[in-house]
Amino acid sequence: MDLLKVESVEAGYGLIQVLWRTSIIVEENQCVVLLGVNGAGKTTLLRTIIGLVEATKGDIVFDGENITGLKPNVRVSRGIAYMSELAVVPDLTVEENLKLGGYVKNRDDTRRMADKAYEYFPDLKAYRTRKAASLSGGQRKMLGVAKTLMSNPKILVMDEPSSGLSPKFVKKVIEILKLLYEEERPSMLIAEQNVAFLDLAQKIYILDKGKVTFTGSVNALKENDTIRETYFGIMH
């Protein structure tokens, strides 16, 4: 079943249009990776989905409901969780960040989810009362993922979980997401320019200058010469 459907959406900032009739679909329990270079419109597309950027044309349908006109906080309460590149609130403690992530849930759920989060991310438990600002970049992303999971969302929308991380931590983030996906099967939409994330994907979209230029599986992508040059840097 289609969980999230973005239908011919156009959006941008003032006079600058970024998305041009962009359409993507995320099915239930599916992990979709949105690949694109800087400036391709990945972030704008995600921000349009969560409601931080207004769609000037087209529809966003989530769980059978047209959510195009809803405010971001309402969309979150409908079950979309969004992790920005920043991922956490630096001035709040680890625990407060998690609580904030579970804001739309009741307190018992929040406590239960926090315990679960500490299970997944044992590092975080030791730093519970520390401010997020004092964490390393990798730990911050982990906290971001944990925080995003706190609301027990129907779909996880993540904007460049690899940004600002060393290759070692990128690997760790991918491992964690893989484990999470295998155990919980959440629907995920991950915007990335790092091809290492393709391992996770069941479906890939490539976004270029605000338009979807490729849709398909990892194998189909690897067979496509032009794309291979752009993203894998392999010439032949």
């Binding site: 931080l52 906080n73 609130v89 630096p90 001035d91 709040l92 609580k99 739309v104 609301s151």
Partner: protein
């Protein structure tokens, strides 16, 4: 999980103890009353400034609205001053609701607009054409209901209420959501927080506390003029006290007010010229070395400040 409340409740009991016993040893009720009033105002300002980052330079507007709201109710309806104080708080909340659009501004723009709004209210109240309602510039006389002791203890009640409010905000999701808004509005919205609603509630609570303070002040003072209760010094003092102590905590505003207001009374009135110098230096030192207030010293020593 009650233990996390102990240190905060402890602070509140210390305050109650001080202001119940001090009148027996230190016979200056007016000073003690004003001290409590500034403590409560500091906690009230803490609600909006400490938790949301909006700097209300016109905070005195709510104070004046409370004073006049209560006085008008006493003069025209002849109801008990206790009820009138509540009416004063509500009057301030109504002003707060009228000023909702100001919350769309931020930073210095908000501070200036709020300042202007409080002065507009001052000129409205002091308008001689409204003499039948507000007595215009000629001031209010409540000497028929004057009761120094009752109003003293009512002020203590308002102070305790304001501290409990801040305690509530420190310990619940409501306070957390405000802090999230202050740090990063986008992230807050993405946590599912209704930003407009949340900050409006904080704004009204903050106005309510100032309104209660103004109303009790009116009762305690009994005779006052518009310029007394719309005096900008009330805003400035309160802001400096909160900044000095450290915002966002219960103890910070208390410390700031206790230290600075005592100082103001002991050297400010006898030698005002030195006082200005001293205050100025203190604020400079504060900005340079302790931008997060006195409590940041304690926090630096890893003491959990309630």
């Amino acid at each position: 999980m009650l233990s996390k409340y102990y240190s905060s409740l402890g602070a509140i009991f210390v305050i109650i103890f001080i202001f119940v016993t001090l009148p027996f040893v230190y016979n200056n009720q007016s000073f003690l009353f004003n001290m409590m009033m500034y403590l409560a105002l500091a906690e009230g300002l803490n609600i909006i400034y400490g938790f949301t980052g909006y700097l209300p330079f016109g905070y005195v507007g709510f104070f004046g609205a409370g004073a006049y709201g209560a006085s008008i109710v006493i003069m025209f309806l002849r109801i008990s001053p206790f009820l009138a104080v509540l009416a004063g708080g509500i009057a301030a909340v109504i002003i707060g609701i009228i000023l909702f659009p100001l919350l769309r501004l931020s930073g210095a723009y908000f501070a200036i607009a709020n300042l202007a709004a409080s002065q507009a209210l001052y000129y409205l109240v002091a308008n001689p054409n409204l003499q039948k309602i507000t007595q215009g510039p000629y001031g209010i006389d409540l000497s028929s209901v004057y009761n120094a002791n009752a109003s003293y203890y009512l002020m203590l009640g308002v102070l305790v209420f304001s501290m409990l409010l801040v305690l509530y905000m420190r310990k619940t999701d409501f306070g957390l959501s405000l802090l999230a808004i202050k740090e990063d509005r986008v992230t807050a919205a993405l946590a599912g927080i209704n930003i407009v609603k949340t900050r409006s509630i904080a704004w009204m609570l903050s106005a309510f506390v100032a309104g209660l303070c103004g109303a009790v002040f009116a009762w305690f003072t009994a005779v006052f003029y518009p310029s007394t209760v719309f005096n900008l010094n009330v805003s400035v003092f309160t802001i400096v006290f909160v900044l000095f102590g450290g915002m966002g905590t219960i103890v910070g505003p208390l410390l700031g007010t206790l230290i600075l207001y005592s100082m103001y009374n002991f050297i400010g009135i006898s030698t005002p010229e030195y006082f200005q110098l001293f205050y100025g230096l203190l604020i400079m030192i504060l900005v340079l070395f302790l931008p997060n207030g006195v409590v940041s010293i304690l926090q630096h020593w890893r003491i959990d400040v309630p």
